[in-house]
Each structure stands twice: as C-alpha cells, then as structure tokens.
C-alpha cells in the first residue's frame, strides 16, 4: 500500500514535470521559451523586483557554459530547473534554478567543420520546452530532443548539409506537438526554409521553402496576400532570373510567433543570395518577407515582402510581436515588426495589411515606406553598385535592429528596443583572393550614426507611434531584453554592463560589470524559494562582437562583413566569455 502510494507520488511528479508549453507559458514563475510566450512579448507578470528595490539586486550564483563564443541564448526555467545552451559546441546544461547546482549536461557531437560555415560567429539563440522535453538546434543542422529530467537524448534529426553552407542557429518553437525550425546561411547559396518536426519522433511533418515554386513555398488556395506585388503564381521562381532561386537564400534564423486564435505562425525570412544584386534582377521573392502560415499544414496565408530586391542585407528575420492595438479607434489584432530596415511595421495579423511603418532610427537608404504598395521608396543615390563609392547609408547592413528581440509591456504600452545605430560606406576597391581566385570586392565600412553613439536602448510608444525615451550606448546593443509587471526592463551591453532600468522612465536602477560583454537574452523566474531571479548569459561575440573573442583580426577593417571596423575598440573593454549570471534580491535564500 505504502509502495503504491509512493509510485502514485512518482507518477504525479513526472506528470508535473511533463507539462505542456501552454500551461508553463501561462505560469509567470516559469520561462519556457526564449520569447516567453507565443506572442513574443518577453513580458513577465512577476512583481518582486521593482524600481524601488532593484538597486539591491545582487548576484545569486553564476555558471560557465564553457565555450568563449558569442552567447545569444535565453536560459529557460521550468519546474525547479534552469536550462541553458551554449554557443558551439552547443552543450545543454540543467541547473537547480535556486542554487545553481548542476543536474546534468548533454553534449551533442557537433561537427567541428560547421564552425567554418557560420557567417557571424557560432552562436545559438536558445531552446524550447514542451511536454517534458527540451528541444534545440545544433550548428551542424540537427534538431535534438532531450529528456528534461534526465538529460538523455530522445531523438536527433539531421535537417541539412553544412558542406552546402547551411547551419542552424535559431531557437525553435513548439506548437501543437510540432517543433518548428529554420535554417541559416543566406550568403552561402542555401535555400531558406521552415521545417516542422513531430516532437515525439523527430519526423518531418512539413517543410516550407522561402524561395521556389508555390508548391515548395506551400502557397495554395488559402494564400491571399494583401499587396498586389505578392499576388500571382510561382513568384518565388518568376521574380528571379532563371534558376537563381535554387540558391536564393531567404533563411529563417530569427523568431517565430504563434497566434492560437487564428492558428497562424508568423516569421520573417532573410536576405537573398549569393548572387550580386545585378545578377538577380527582380523582387527575389520570398526573401526579406513576413509569412503567415497555418500552424498545422504550413500553408501560406499571406506574405509581405518588406525589402524587394534587397541591396543592403536587410534580413527581415526580426521578431513579430502579436499585440492588439487600437487602429482608427478599433481594437485590432496586429503584428509589430521592428524592421531591420529601420521601420516599425504594424501589420494586420489576419490580412497582412501594413497600417504604419514609422522610422525608429536614422534611415537614409529608403525615404519612406509606401503603405499603398507595401514597398519601400528607395533612394537611388544610395544604391550600392560595384564601381560606385557610396557613403552615408543608414542603417548599415546589420540594420537598425538585428536578431536581438524587443519586449512589450501591456502596462506601459511601450516596446523596448535594444538596437544598433550604425551607418556605412560602400567602396569598390578591396582585392580579395579565395580558393586561388582573385577578384575586386567591395569594402563595407560601418561607423557610428549621427550623434556618435553606436547603440541605443529605446522605449517606443506603440499607441503614440513615437520614441518616448532612449539610452545611448557606446556599442551596439546586441542583447535581447525583457520587461516585467514590477516595472523594470533589463538588457546588457557589449561593454559588460548588465542593466536594469525603470520601464516607465528609462532611469538606470541597477548595473553590474560582468565577466564579458552581453549579447544574450535576459529572462526572469520565481524559484521554489519564492525569490524572483533574473538570468542572462554574458559572453560577447556574434556578428557584432566576433572581434572581441578573437574570431576576427581587428586590423581588418572589413572583417566580419564590415562590422569589425565599427567596433574596433571592443577588445579594449572585453574579451570572450561564457558565464550565466543570475541575480536576485537575496531574500530568504541569500548566497
């Protein structure tokens, strides 16, 4: 009898451990996906840490993930366990969320040659929890499922070939028993896709390509794009010179959001490649495009291509926040997309209609965004063509904002935007030499935008459609952010500051000088001890920070696709790192 009770107890415990993502998501003590919720708001209802007491924050514990590359991943907290994945070689750790004690470690055997294929450091943007498993991607194109309790691999599915330039760096999401994954490698001649895998078996359920014929892009009867230029058959083929789409890029290395009400997933695709723009005449659909797709079948419902025939490497993989906003006096389900091209897009979730596109940072390459045609108005004088020297292109290739996700507070109605503030010059001059082949290349030189700062953390009023406050930072703000009901917003800087600010005013409440610069994503959770914690990986790198962990020679101004020049002084303030930092107010469980 006693034994039976114990067994029942065990069963209960394991059932509790195997909660679905839905149920964990609605419990603000936990943080089960990098974006916190399907709407991608990165907002938590926790209130213990407030502007009044944030000054008393202290380091509760810390942990090394052991690989000094850029650490972009968001830790997760489910039950009483904190999960964190490091940059290549992508080890996954399970730690006691209160004490930091290690429970287990899972080490995938990642093919080392994948390192050579990643364009912009060997980062990983995080993992997702669902039904007792942790899912994440490895640089060498595998999605793995790991038992959340034991750390044992449940399945691993290979999704692509690193020898063809493909890698995977994004954090997957879990929707209705499927894991959705996208690929990286737009510069290398890959063909972008989103793939849905069965979360129990790892079997591929569907794959939607970003380029190619409608049947591959999963464009069919349900597809009703709002704008005329997106209407027509096989545009993923016809808007390219013959055959170019086969290596056309459009990778999906950013964020996916999901609207359970309409059963649609939303995500953006990356830049076209690898052909020079004059060899890929046409819109190059569906690169730099926001897709709405049926979550069960992958069928496209609408698509907005934000940068047709992209000239500047303005990927539109940035996150899409699903928010209800008042549009012309009517509460409307919209998608907010802080564009890489510097426009704040507010888009109707059901139709793809763009309601507004306001510039949120210096923008010179496009004079405006035409809401009637759904296309940007290009500035011809700033088109980078080989043989031309063009100066003052803003934003630079990383865009006004890159992958680093924003957060939205339903209390302040502000969007919190960590971003860079860089412009660039484009010159034809550099002699390149690869695989025995000399060529004349372009030098991309990035530098601080107007005002001589390179990064900004800003609050954007979505109702008033304007910036309400901004904190200028010396370096691009390449970290993510989050905001809480307690009224604090959190981010980190590449010069090693962990920062907590007042969500209303932007006033700095607390800062901590960490071992290495921040390009990670902060999360918050409540431990079993009742304390609220904030966790974030320190460890500079990524496209912006590769120069600091010796990936790039700072003397090469054109290194890291032009980024090294913009952050040449970064190695004077930080080097690479790999430390998970966990903060709390102390309380009952002070360490």
């Amino acid at each position: 009898m006693k034994r039976f009770l114990m067994l029942a107890g065990l069963l209960l415990a394991s059932q509790a451990a195997a909660q679905s993502l839905d149920s964990v998501m609605s419990d603000d003590r936990q943080w089960a996906m990098p974006a916190k919720n399907y709407a991608n708001t990165r907002f938590s209802n926790l209130k213990q840490i407030t502007p009044a007491n944030a000054g008393q924050l202290r380091v509760a514990w810390s942990f090394s993930v052991g690989s000094n590359h850029g650490q972009e991943a968001a830790p997760l907290m489910v039950g009483d366990t904190l999960y964190v994945v490091g940059a290549y070689p992508n080890e996954l750790f399970a730690l006691d969320a209160v004490t930091g004690d290690m429970k287990w470690k899972y080490s995938p055997r990642v093919d080392p040659s994948a390192q050579g294929e990643a364009c912009c450091d060997v980062v990983n943007r995080g993992e997702v929890y669902d039904n007792g498993k942790i899912f994440f991607n490895t640089l060498d194109d595998h999605t793995v499922a790991v038992d959340a309790k034991t750390g044992k691999e449940v399945w691993a599915t290979k999704l692509g070939e690193i020898t063809q330039g493909m890698t995977i760096t994004m954090a997957p999401i879990a929707v209705k028993g499927r894991i959705l994954v996208g690929n990286s490698g737009g510069e290398m001649g890959i063909r972008g896709w989103v793939t849905a895998l069965d979360e129990n078996t790892g079997k591929i359920a569907w794959r939607a390509y970003s380029v190619g014929p409608d049947k591959d892009v999963l464009i069919g009867k349900r597809f009703h794009p709002y704008y005329k230029s997106a209407q027509g058959k096989d545009l993923g083929v016809k808007t390219w010179p013959p055959g170019r789409w086969q290596v056309g890029g459009g990778p999906v290395w950013g964020w996916l959001s999901y609207d359970p009400k309409s059963n649609l997933v939303f995500y953006g695709t990356g830049n076209p490649g690898p052909w020079n723009s004059n060899q890929r005449e046409g819109d190059n659909k569906w690169t730099t495009t926001i897709f709405a797709r049926d979550a069960d079948t992958g069928e496209a419902v609408w698509a907005d291509q934000l940068n047709p025939h992209d000239l500047y490497d303005y990927d539109e993989i940035n996150e899409n926040l699903l928010i209800d906003l008042s549009i012309a006096g009517k509460q409307t389900p919209v998608l907010v997309h802080p564009g890489r091209d510097g426009f704040m897009f507010v888009i109707d979730r059901a139709t793809g209609r763009i309601y507004s596109a306001d510039k949120y940072d210096t923008q010179t390459s496009m004079s405006s965004f035409d809401l009637k045609t759904g296309r940007p108005v290009m500035v011809d004088a700033l088109k980078p063509l080989l043989g031309k020297n063009v100066t003052g292109i803003c934003p630079a290739s990383p865009g006004a904002k890159d992958w680093q996700p924003t957060a939205y507070s339903p209390l302040t109605h502000y969007l919190y935007i960590p971003h860079q503030h860089l412009c660039m010059d484009y010159k034809t001059a550099e002699v390149g030499y690869i695989a025995g082949t000399p060529y004349v290349g372009a030098t991309v030189n990035m530098y601080a935008g107007p005002g001589h700062y390179r990064g900004e953390y800003a609050a954007w009023d979505l109702t008033g459609r304007k910036k309400v406050w901004a904190i200028h930072e010396r370096f691009p703000v390449w970290s993510g952010t989050m905001v809480t009901a307690g009224g604090i917003a959190v981010y980190g800087t590449m010069d090693r500051w962990f920062k907590v600010v007042d969500a209303k005013t932007g006033k700095l409440l607390y800062r901590f000088h960490a071992p290495s610069g921040f390009i990670g994503q902060p999360v918050t959770y409540q431990g079993k001890d009742g304390n609220q914690y904030i966790a974030m990986l320190s460890g500079v790198g990524g496209w912006a920070g590769a120069i600091a962990n010796a990936e790039i020679d700072p003397r090469v101004r054109n290194g890291a696709l032009g980024y090294a020049g913009a952050v040449g002084d970064l190695p004077t303030v930080t080097s690479g790192g790999s430390t998970l930092m966990v903060f709390s107010l102390g309380g009952r469980h002070a360490h």
Binding site: T163, G436, G441
Partner: protein, 260 residues
Amino acid sequence: MRISAALLLLLPLSARAETLRVCADPNNLPFSNRAGEGFEDKIAMLVARDLHMDVRHAYALQNERFLKHTLLARKCDVVMGVSTGVDELDTTRPYYASTYVFVTRAPLKIASLQDPRLRGLKIGAHLIGDESTPPMLALGREGIVDNVRGFMIQSGFDKPNPAARPVEAVAHKDIDVAAVWGPFGGYFAKRSPVALNVVAMTGTGRFAPLRFQFAIAMGVRKGDPLKARLDDVIAREGPAIRRILSDYGVPEVPEVSNHG
C-alpha cells in the same frame, strides 16, 4: 646498414635545416593539394631547396577564414599564392600575373567580354559568398543574366578540386563558356579529353574599376623578414618558376599593378 648511414646523414641535416611552413589548400588544383601535385607545391619545393629548408604544410580550405586559421594563427609562415594588394598581408614581389579567360569547346573561341554571342551562349562563372568574380559582375552589368550559371567556389572536400567545375561543365557540354581565372582554365583545358580553347579576356576596359588581370605574389605576416628572403628567391629562380607555370598551363600576362 646503408639505411642507418642515410639516417645518420639525415638527422644532423634536418636538425640544422629551417622549415618553410606553407599554408595551403588541400584540395585545389592546379594550385595545391595534399599530395603535393599543384604548381604552388612545386614552387614551394623550389623555394625551399633554394633556401636549404624543409617544407611543411598547414592545410585549410582557402575561404574567408583561411588566413585567420593558418598564417595569422602562426601555423605556417607563407601563402604561396595571393593577389598583391590584399590587406592583411605583406606580399613579395609578384612572380607571375594572369588573367581571367574564356574557356570554350573547340572550335568556338571567345575573347571579348563584349562579344555579342555571349548573349546566346550558356555561360558559367564562379560565385564567391557575398562577392562576385569580375566576369560575373561585368556580365550582370551588360544585362547578361538569364543564361549565366553560378558555381560556388568553395564546396569543401566532397569532390576533388571544387573550383574546376565550370571548366568541366564546358567539356561535358552542360555550358558553352566558362569565364574563370586563368590558371583554372589553362590547367583543366590541358587535361580535358575534349579539345578546349582558352583565351585571355579582352574588352574589359569599360568595366573599370573591375579588373581582370591580377599579379600574384607570396604572402607573409606583416613585418615578417621572410619576405626579403622570398623576394631574393623569386629573383634568382625566375626561369625555374616560369617553367613550372608553363608546365601547368598558367596563362601569363605582362606584370600588372594590383593597386590601380
């Protein structure tokens, strides 16, 4: 007995001899491969012999990270072939200059980038990640797009000499014209079972600042005194170097400046 005598002779020698540490691609003929069959391999041997050095290689695919992982990581001290004017390095005096070429199946012969026939022929050229080779850019500027096929220049170890694909494609009649860097054209045309014509590209002037001729030198780390010694070898061994280049069918052009 004889063996040990030879060993005895060798040991003090190799202990005394310096090593020429060469950074090389393990799979890119006609330049180099792991078996030492490329002309850069032969020239490295020649240089080492001249300097009474041994040769040792550090291999890596010659992509954007090649210098970082080899020369700049001090795993080796010289890159046998690099275009002069490359930023990250000191380069020796150039030891040859070559040109982009058109490779066609005989009897077809194309010389000029402005040849109207190019609009109707299937053309292949190399793609380089974010950049492009000069012929590819020039063809784009001429509006010659639809009939152009791109060959990514780095394809790893899957097949031997990945950069040879466009020339092979001409021989196999997949395409009609390959617009490639001279040493590829010269070498693979020489070995092709089908008669191929290799013609230096002309009619390139209007595409400035694109350039189609480049001078090639050896590259060393900035400030490395090895440069002066290599310059001397290049001067001394000029005729022997010429012979090797000619054996490999490298189309040579008079010296060009890579800075203008």
